[in-house]
């Protein structure tokens, strides 16, 4: 892959003429422009469901929040279109199947003033590896070395084609390791030394973070001078914060509140293109789910459009296949369970021996009814009840149980005491890492103990693929195999809704909530 460099193009003659002409016209309006300039607010207020527990990136509950408000940065980042791009790195290049080199920008400094050299980057990443479980797993088997002042080399004993995606992860923010120290140091504002456009000024764990403009920022100086991130855990209170105009950006608006925001004159509703996939996980170790025909029948008999309309007010996307909600895989929307097909579902169940007696409502096989439980957690009750009604139409008797508390599901699952449960996970990132968690025989999210020889071979195929496009195509093959064997039934994305004040300009929604909502071009009119 050729090096990627982010740079500004030089001005040509046409650009110059345009600039002069604009300036001439603008001079007529200088007084009003001055007024407009003074009407820019220097504070951006954000309300979120949670705020960080700590300021140290190795703390479990800090990383993403700090990145989302422009305090922290990584070597690389993901664009809203899902492409890997540079961040504090200037370029990155493949140095063979087992190695990558990343070049740093020469002008990047930590907020305290210290230059960010290759040695500092190595120290930062090694500290994360040592102190963070996620960091350790992301960097497992990867050696990190400084080559001079501005180049970092990543190498391993195996191919690491997904390293660029790994380096975009929220856990691998570049921080001043010396400032933070050898242990988790989450509550010392003075130690929180990052590279971002904003520096933490005050911090109240799980209440508020205030960040102020970093005068030593290497990039374009942001127009906003101050960011206030407040925790508002109640979803109704969050929507009121948006409607009152008190918060300029409010994250995690519920589908129930979305209509009020849409009618508001002070806020706009953004439907963030989520790459999550909520799915119904099936216990394939036991009847009736051990039969693939039953699994396929259940998948064909779900009306995903109805689920999206009822549960998410139409603000989510259906998932005909596992990767069908991920913008990086547009082909995946044409694969799998693209429509409701009760006729096919009925045929499959008949073939599997689950038949309806004359006048009966529940299918049975050898006298045993088609009956199972469906567990929900969090806010999944409406979806579960809808699925119960839809599956009842094709002769399944479903008992819905659950709790907003995650612990109940986890406990039942650990004991093997479950039939179906609904859960959602992201699908963005390196496809090998993400997909194998669910469908590799030893995947940590393979609750179903799914073990398919064809799938295993497909996952092994990643080992020899170094090109990003080849890996994407391999992921699509896995997606197809998943649709054929359906160990879990994809349903939809989850609605991610943000309310943004009409006073905010330059807002760009991103499918990863912790990627830069705040950037240099964002500003707020007062």
């Amino acid at each position: 892959m050729p090096p990627l460099i982010t740079s500004r193009p030089a001005l040509g003659r046409r650009d110059l003429m345009r600039t002069v002409g604009t300036a001439a016209i603008a001079s007529q309006f200088l007084p009003s422009m001055a007024l407009a300039q003074s009407a820019i607010s220097d504070e951006l207020r954000i309300a979120n469901e949670e705020t960080p527990y700590g300021l140290d990136p190795v703390h479990e509950y800090s990383a993403g929040y700090l990145r989302s408000i422009g305090v922290a940065e990584g070597l690389l980042r993901l664009t809203p279109q899902g492409d890997v791009d540079v961040d504090i790195a200037a370029w990155f290049a493949n140095a063979g199947p087992n190695a990558w080199r990343v070049g740093l920008r020469p002008d990047v400094r930590f907020q305290g003033g210290k230059p960010v050299t290759a040695k500092e980057v190595v120290a930062s990443l090694e500290r994360t590896r040592a102190l963070s479980t996620y960091g350790a797993n992301l960097l497992k088997g990867i050696s990190i070395d400084a080559e001079g002042d501005l180049v970092v080399r990543f190498s391993a004993n195996r191919a690491i084609p997904a390293l660029p995606q790994i380096l975009t992860d929220e856990w691998l923010m570049i921080h001043n390791a010396e400032s933070f120290g050898a242990k988790d140091n989450s509550f010392d504002v003075g130690a929180a030394d990052y590279t971002g456009a904003f520096k933490v000024a005050t911090f109240n764990p799980r209440v508020q973070v205030v960040a102020e403009r970093n005068p030593k920022y290497w990039g374009e100086t942001p127009r906003i001078a101050r960011i206030v991130l407040n925790e508002v855990s109640d979803p109704d209170a969050r929507s009121l914060a948006a409607l009152s105009g008190e918060a300029h950006i409010v994250r995690s608006i519920t589908a129930e509140s979305s209509a009020r925001i849409q009618r508001s004159r002070t806020s706009r509703l953004y439907t963030i293109p989520s790459t999550d996939c909520a799915a119904a996980y099936l216990n394939i170790a036991k009847e009736p789910f051990s039969d693939v025909r039953v699994r396929q029948a259940l998948a064909w008999s779900l009306d995903r459009d109805e689920i999206v309309n009822v549960s998410y007010n139409g603000l989510a996307r259906t998932a005909p296949s596992w990767l069908g909600t991920n913008v990086a895989y547009p082909e995946a929307r044409r694969v799998g369970y693209t429509r409701l097909d009760l006729t096919r579902a009925a045929r499959l169940l008949d073939e599997a021996g689950w038949t309806l007696a004359s006048g009966g409502k529940v299918r049975a096989r050898n006298g045993k009814p088609l009956k199972f439980s469906l567990i929900w957690w969090g806010g999944g009750k409406p979806t579960a009840e809808l699925m119960q009604a839809q599956w009842a139409k094709m002769g399944a008797q479903v008992e819905v149980l659950g709790s907003p508390d995650y612990g109940l599901l986890d406990s039942l699952r650990s004991a093997g005491n479950w039939d179906v449960f609904v859960e959602g996970w992201g699908t963005d990132g390196d496809p090998e890492s993400v997909l194998s968690r669910h469908v590799a025989a030893d995947g940590d999210l393979n609750y179903m103990k799914y073990n398919d020889a064809v799938m295993t071979d497909l996952l092994k195929g990643f080992e020899t693929l170094t090109d990003a496009e080849d890996r994407r195509v391999q992921a699509l093959h896995i997606n197809q195999r998943h649709a054929d064997t359906v160990p879990f039934i994809p349903i939809s994305s989850r609605a991610r809704l943000n309310a943004v004040s009409t006073k905010v300009h330059g807002y760009v929604p991103h499918f990863q909530w912790w990627q830069y909502e705040v950037h240099s071009d964002l500003w707020v009119s007062s």
């Binding site: 508002v232 105009g245 039942l412």
Partner: protein, 313 residues
Amino acid sequence: MLRYTITRLAIALPVLLAAVTASFILIHAAPSDPVAIMFGAVRGGSQVGATGTQRDALRHELGLDRSWPEQYFSWVARTAQGDLGTSFRSRRPVATEMGNRMPATLSLGLTALVVQAILGLGLGALASRHPGGFVDHVTNAIAMILVSVPAYWLGLIFLWTFAVGLNWVDVTGPPDPSRIVLPALTLGLVMTPPVMRVFRTSLIEQQSRAHVTVARSKGLAEGVILFRHVARPAILPAITLLGISMGEMLGGAVIVESIFSWPGLGKYLLDSILARDYPVVQGYMLLTTFTVVIGTLVVDLLHGFLDPRLRTP
């Protein structure tokens, strides 16, 4: 009185122990564990998870691989020395975490208590003036409405009206005096009816007592009769209720604190229960029980002060 106080304090110790033992058993009996929740779908990233070995290592670090009795006695021994342990989530001492949030809860609780006392006693006195009359019916209706209205709903209505409609208050922000009015009003209002009804009934009952008739026949001023001979004994049951409210304010403020983003102990407790942050939940139960025990003792001592009959052995 001193012997009485010492006796009450001595009884408080086994009560405290029983309460914290019960809370230990209940929180540990809840399904799942903190490590599973930490790495589960609630928070887990999509590219990597935690291996079984890593989860077990964390369980060992947090002491969760020990038996219940071992964990319990270890916690009791540490607590007796003033160490409430370390929060699993924040990795900070529980005492520090609770100490940081205590001022917000105390300020909210005490303000709500004042609201409850003023409204409860005031409306109760008003209603007792003419039992069965128009004012009595109106105050009764107010009590019915307040006891039926959930705090959650009332709080949102207040926010909608005063934050969104009138823009007089903020929905979020630090726990400063400008933001305490609505949450205190919400909490105080929903807890007013019992005080109001008890005080009203008690006042009416006292008015028909013989000593009041004697005082009237002696020609004492009505104000003196009402204050010294009626209100003073009538207020005792209401004070008992207010004392119990002190303990309830700590627990009942969970919902109000969540709606108003008030960074107090209630919201912290809710988050900790969902995360199975055992040291925090146990520490909170200890604190709440202690508050109720001390609150009840204070009320009893006040009773003794207000009613001389209770002082004689």
